[in-house]
């Protein structure tokens, strides 16, 4: 698993474990005293439209009484008996500083849909149902989502927020030579940066493919690797891929479709078909290749991003 997914997963887990019962429980609890009669309890249920209540003596929770207990009392003609004699004592409770996850587990274990919540001194402070947990989680997720949206919005408005006569964002990546497994990691980050800055799929794709071709050239043809520098401006992207590798002996020839000097093992992987530079040409709005045998290679690429006025329909194409 990669950094990115780990972050995503742990964020959600954190959320679930972070959510305390006191964050989601209902605080206004209708209670009844043990000294009340069952008849009074019946009136309470009717008036408050509830189906049960915790029984409280002073601050302390001493039991719970339900509609079921009331029906039994009615059947037995014991409506004048006290709640204290009909209630269930030894109630399962939750602590207010427990996590919502613990509450869910206890609900599942005992099969109750409702738990009185007490603080560590045993004082009744609230009541919790499954619905409360669900609502709390959804609310929290929504807040998180909104924060994420705000972050994204901020990234995409960096060029409006930071004022200068000409603002650029420069990203630099080091690419290792012959490290086939890591090949493409820089391009992936470049593509994601473009997307995060608000570039739509078409421009992100063009930049991504061209950067990837250039990056794979560094991986395949150099031993020491090279550097990729990306300069992003609101209306254009510029990429320089530079290495101190073997150099290209004949640039004309290198640009011919199908011409390749890639070794066999690279070809077996499906690369080195002699189309990379051509594809880069196709994806960019301009490219320049300089190379000196034994000195190194410089590949420059430009991408225009059309201004909003001239292409109102292609909003996704804009940075």
């Amino acid at each position: 698993m990669t950094d990115h997914t780990t972050v995503e997963v742990s964020k959600l887990q954190e959320l679930v474990y972070e959510l305390r019962i006191e964050d989601v429980m209902k605080r206004e609890v209708v209670t009844v005293t043990p000294q009340a009669s069952m008849r009074e309890f019946k009136e309470l249920l009717r008036l408050k439209r509830i189906s049960g209540a915790p029984v409280v003596e002073g601050d302390k929770l001493v039991g719970i009484i339900s509609l079921e207990d009331l029906i039994k009392a009615l059947e037995d003609g014991q409506m004048d008996n006290l709640v204290g004699s009909k209630m269930t004592s030894g109630v399962e409770t939750l602590f207010s500083d427990d996590s919502a996850v613990q509450a869910v587990n206890r609900m599942a274990r005992f099969g109750y849909g409702r738990f009185p919540v007490v603080d560590r001194s045993g004082k009744l402070v609230g009541i919790l149902t499954r619905g409360d947990i669900l609502r709390g989680l959804l609310r929290r997720l929504e807040v998180n989502y909104r924060e994420e949206e705000i972050q994204r919005y901020r990234a995409s408005h960096i060029f409006q927020d930071i004022v200068s006569d000409r603002t650029s964002l420069i990203l630099r990546y080091r690419v290792r030579g012959k490290d086939f497994r890591q090949g493409g990691a820089a391009s992936s980050k470049i593509k994601r940066a473009i997307e995060r800055l608000g570039g739509g799929p078409p421009i992100a794709r063009r930049v991504g493919v061209a950067a990837y071709e250039a990056e794979m050239n560094l991986v395949i043809h150099t031993d020491q690797g090279g550097e990729m520098e990306v300069e992003i401006q609101p209306d254009r992207v510029y990429i320089l891929a530079e290495d101190q590798g073997p150099g290209i002996s004949n640039i004309e020839q290198a640009l011919q479709p199908g011409f390749s000097t890639a070794p066999e093992w690279i070809r077996e992987m499906g690369f080195g078909a002699g189309m990379g530079l051509l594809n880069i040409k196709h994806c960019t709005d301009g490219m320049k290749l300089d190379s000196k045998l034994g000195v190194g290679t410089r590949l420059e690429m430009w991408f225009h991003i059309p201004p909003p006025e001239s292409a109102p329909k292609q909003k996704e194409d804009l940075l």
């Binding site: 497994r181 090949g183 950067a211 990379g276």
Partner: protein, 136 residues
């Protein structure tokens, strides 16, 4: 064509899913919609000719296949001939959000079945002009 249909046509299976597309959220997965299909063992060709929103069929299983798909905007990859990718390929696919599928059909038949079932290709390549007399 949606992913559910692809799996049915190829008598295929899901090899790995990105975290967001867990089996619990399989509805989203099956609703993944492909506009085109493409097949290649040459990643250079995929980079040059693939269209976004397409499905890629390939016999290669190394991680660069996933990188290629990511760059080209490919939505999902099908490994043909019953090939199974190594863990690092599945890990990268999970990271970049690309589902991996598998079929026991060979490349030719897998493509033929999908094409016959209505998943179109992308016509002639537009990367460079073909030699005179070869269309376009």
């Amino acid at each position: 064509m949606d992913l559910k249909t692809v799996l049915k046509v190829l008598e295929g299976k899901v090899i790995s899913l990105p975290p967001g597309l867990s089996p619990a959220a399989d509805l989203d997965l099956y609703e993944l919609e492909f506009s085109y299909g493409g097949a290649a063992d040459l990643m250079s060709d995929v980079l040059a000719f693939a269209r976004p929103d397409s499905l890629l069929l390939t016999g290669l299983t190394h991680p660069q296949v996933v990188r290629t798909a990511e760059m080209a905007g490919i939505l999902a990859i099908v490994f043909v001939r019953g090939k199974h990718p190594p863990p690092e390929t599945a890990a990268l696919a999970a990271e970049v959000g690309i589902p991996l599928l598998g079929t026991r059909y060979k490349m030719y038949e897998a493509c033929g079945r999908l094409y016959a079932a209505g998943l179109p290709g992308t016509g002639f390549p537009d990367l460079y002009s073909l030699p005179v007399g070869m269309g376009k």
